[in-house]
């Protein structure tokens, strides 16, 4: 297991290198000038050039690229053009915000989606099944930005139970943190609840129809044990695969959710960086996201082996 993990970590290094290379290429292709963000519409081309020089954007791309790699290898991702601080500091400040939002949404999605999926499978073909699956499809179909705005109007303005936005750090006040995270968490989790519910239902239905489940029932095991120990445990493999994909979807969805709820997380940082062409920040953020995806995939692969002893890690 340790050898496998080490090999996977080493194998991810070229992937990270490739990601940084592709992101440099994309940034080179994307039009737009970060210097323009500092100036208004009446600015002269001369003023624009002056700001470009101040930001070091007048240097050739290859020179900038070489400089970036030289520093990145020493763990320095450079300075943000707009935030007046290092890229690493900017990313690390926001990472806990986004991770907490994504984790809460993940837990909520797995709990709600899992329970709904099991219930639907056990009541297959009945009203409960149809009702839950209709809700799941609805959850999958509702865009996050729309749901977020509706929740704000319903539960923050019309019935002021939750704040309409903003963020309070957990370390500052855990209760207010939870209160502020409630609506964004539900918004972000909604799509994934539907996803998990549908996947759990179909996987469980398939497993429950297999011979070993019939044998378990024939042995006289209680139904709860049949479903949870023999059914759900075996139905988890495809659900686990879905969960790996979900992490990526949650990080992507966080971009929208953070915008709607004015949460200063990684998603909002990336949107701002892209809109203002803060190249070093975009570069650093892409690298961080690639690293998160690689780690999640590694964890999922390791979990496969933990759940199913038949899987051997080569």
């Amino acid at each position: 297991m340790i050898g496998y993990t080490l090999r996977r970590v080493l194998a991810s290094l070229p992937v990270l290198g490739l990601v940084s290379l592709i992101s440099f290429g994309l940034l080179w292709l994307v039009p737009g000038d970060p210097a323009a963000v500092f100036l208004d519409a009446g600015a002269s081309a001369e003023a624009l050039e002056r700001v470009r020089r101040e930001l070091g954007l007048d240097r050739p791309l290859l020179q900038r690229m070489g400089h970036w790699y030289a520093r990145a290898l020493q763990g320095d991702l450079g300075q943000s053009l707009l935030l007046n601080r290092s890229v690493t500091a900017a990313l690390l400040e926001r990472l806990p915000v986004t991770l907490s939002l994504a984790t809460l949404s993940f837990v909520l999605a797995v709990l709600l989606g899992g329970v709904a999926g099991v219930l639907a499978a056990l009541r297959h073909g009945r009203a409960v099944d149809h009702g839950l699956m209709a809700l799941a499809v609805l959850g999958l179909s509702v865009p996050e930005f729309w749901l977020g705005m509706v929740l704000i109007w319903a539960l923050a303005v019309w019935l002021p139970l939750f704040p309409p936005g903003d963020y309070v750090a957990f370390a500052v006040d855990p209760l207010r943190w939870a209160w502020h995270m409630a609506l964004p968490t539900f918004t972000l989790a909604c799509v994934q609840v539907g996803f998990v519910a549908r996947m759990t239902r179909s996987s469980l239905l398939e497993v429950l129809g297999q011979d070993f489940v019939r044998s378990a029932r024939a042995k006289g095991l209680p139904e709860s044990q049949v479903v949870l120990r023999h059914g759900l445990a075996n139905a988890l493999m495809p659900v686990l695969t879905v969960m790996g994909i979900m992490v990526g979807a949650l990080l992507g969805g966080a971009v929208v959710t953070e915008q709607v709820f004015s949460i200063p997380g990684l998603g909002r940082l990336i949107v701002g960086a892209v809109l203002s062409r803060d190249f070093p920040l975009i570069q650093g953020a892409l690298l961080l996201l690639a690293l998160i995806y690689l780690l999640v995939n590694l964890v999922v692969d390791l979990l496969y082996a933990a759940i199913d002893p038949r899987v051997r890690l080569a």
């Binding site: 081309a45 003023a47 101040e54 309409p164 004015s262």
Partner: protein, 508 residues
């Protein structure tokens, strides 16, 4: 012979001060303002972005500042003495002015600040006429010019990318790296990018004794609140919700629908900041057929400007063809653009346009896209084939400001230039910057208006400029637009201006 500019300025400023109705002013509380964007920098010399200006002009002050009617009046200076040849200005500084770090402001700080701005300020051309700056006393600074510049005091007081006075040690920092330490009525507390900037009342601040009331960026800046928090909320719906949930006190830029809905609600006040900008339609004179006067005239004659303004800025526009705002001594009652399709088709027939597709670049801000879309439809009636290319501001401005190719039309707003005055309005068209082709006539008028000290002569030059912009269809001034600023009724004595000023206001 020397002239005292200050005496007249002060007399005028005091004379126009309106006596505010007596209201019980309460001290305390933090005002929370939602604005759409975060500032690209809090170094006031580094940026001319509105998002930065809103904050920086609470923290920093300038030697001269613009009053309510955009006139330059003394702020950190008590006045200026101008030499008879107009080439030397001696500024006397107010005494006892403290920076937020506790240090007294002296001539050395002013010299360092002006020198820094001359080298790399975001609008360094404002002080391009300065030859040298020197401290001629502990509280006296002498500025020598290369040539006479009538707009020097106007330029020094420009709020665009303010020529803010900062401690000399901060002025020694590279551009963008100076700490936000100024002399203003609020001191900087914290900046959380993507979240907020927090300012606190500067308790050692002494309002300028030459004034009694709030007056533009100058006047007596009396602070009643404990602090101001500028929250960055790009989503309009989120700003509205935050206001109605009581999380913010002022939405700096609301939409018309929400403004109409909340206008009759006693819990809110809807303030129209109108005019706030001009909507300008630029032609790329370097790209055929926009290099052809007949074609540009055809477009000007085919445009229904009011339809464009009414669609893009419903209930918050004003049809006015002057390139400065009403109230300015340079404002004129120019005839409005009138749609005349028959004349437009005749002009188009005389042009070299052969039905080719023309590119309209526009940033993704909704009103700008709406304006471009209506224009596209109006051009279809004329028989001109327009394709819209919508992108974000860094992309569009990089094309429009630097390239002769890839675009024919571009629309955006001009907000600060009409407020600053004639030289600033003419400046974007000098050396063909805005229209991508040199116009020696405009270049000559720019030099002339800068050197002309006589107000009547300046007005004549500016009237000639406005006439040329229309007659030669250099660019189209479509009309004036405004902002809906929606505030909680708890915020008292707020008055719309170029920035949401938080001195003179209080919370109930």
């Amino acid at each position: 012979m020397t002239r005292r500019v200050v005496a007249l300025s002060l007399a005028a400023a005091l004379a126009i001060v309106a006596v505010a109705p007596t209201q019980a002013q309460k001290r305390g509380g933090d005002v929370v303002i939602a604005q759409t964007q975060a500032p690209p920098s809090l170094d006031p010399h580094a940026t001319s972005a509105q998002a930065a200006r809103n904050i920086n002009l609470h923290v920093f002050e300038t030697l001269y500042a613009r009053d309510e009617n955009a006139r330059a009046v003394p702020d950190l200076a008590t006045g200026a003495t101008v030499s008879s040849d107009g080439l030397s200005y001696v500024f006397t500084l107010r005494r006892g002015v403290k920076f937020h770090n506790g240090k007294d402001m002296t001539a050395a700080d002013v010299v360092a600040s002006l020198e820094r701005y001359r080298k790399a300020g975001a609008s360094a051309s404002l002080v391009g006429a300065i030859d040298s700056v020197s401290a001629t006393g502990a509280h006296q600074v002498t500025v020598r010019l290369k040539s006479v510049q009538s707009a020097l005091l106007l330029n020094l007081s420009s709020p665009r990318a303010p020529i803010a006075i900062m401690p000399a040690e901060e002025a020694a920092q590279p551009m963008g790296k100076a700490q936000p330490i100024g002399t203003g009525p609020f001191r900087f507390v914290e900046f959380k990018p993507d979240s907020h900037v927090k300012l606190a009342r500067f308790d050692a601040y002494q309002p300028n004794p030459a004034y009694r009331e709030r007056d533009g960026f100058a006047g007596a800046k009396v602070v009643h609140v404990d602090g101001v928090i500028f929250r960055f909320m790009p989503e309009g719906g989120a700003r509205d919700a935050a206001l109605q949930a009581g999380q913010i006190h002022l939405n700096e830029s609301g939409d018309g629908t929400t403004a109409a809905r909340l206008a009759g609600d006693a819990r809110y006040q809807v303030i129209k900041a109108l005019p706030f900008a001009l909507q300008v339609l630029k032609f790329n004179h370097a790209a055929p057929p926009c290099n052809d006067l007949h074609f540009r005239r055809a477009v000007a004659q085919a445009v229904d400007a009011e339809a464009i303004m009414g669609t893009a800025f419903p209930a918050i526009y004003k049809m006015d063809q002057s390139w400065v705002y009403a109230g300015s001594p340079y404002h004129s009652d120019r005839p409005l653009l009138k749609q005349n399709l028959a004349a437009a088709k005749a002009s188009l027939a005389r042009s070299g346009y052969k039905g080719e597709k023309l590119i309209f670049i526009v940033d993704h801000i909704r009103p700008n896209v709406d304006a471009a879309t209506v224009f596209q439809q109006q051009m279809a009636l004329l028989g001109v084939n327009v394709e819209l290319k919508v992108a974000d501001w860094p992309t569009v401005s990089a094309i429009g400001l630097k390239s002769d190719e890839g675009w024919h039309f571009w629309t955006h707003s001009f907000g600060i230039e009409p407020f600053e005055g004639p030289a600033s309005v003419i400046s974007p068209w000098v050396k063909g910057q805005g229209q991508r082709r040199d116009d020696p006539t405009i270049d000559a008028w720019f030099d002339k208006i800068n050197a002309e000290m006589n107000g009547d002569a300046q007005r004549r030059i500016f009237a000639d400029f406005e006439a040329r912009m229309a007659d030669e269809a250099i660019a189209l001034n479509l009309g004036q637009l405004g902002l809906f600023q929606i505030a909680s009724a708890r915020l008292k004595n707020f008055k719309a201006f170029r920035i949401p000023r938080m001195w003179g206001v209080w919370l109930e």
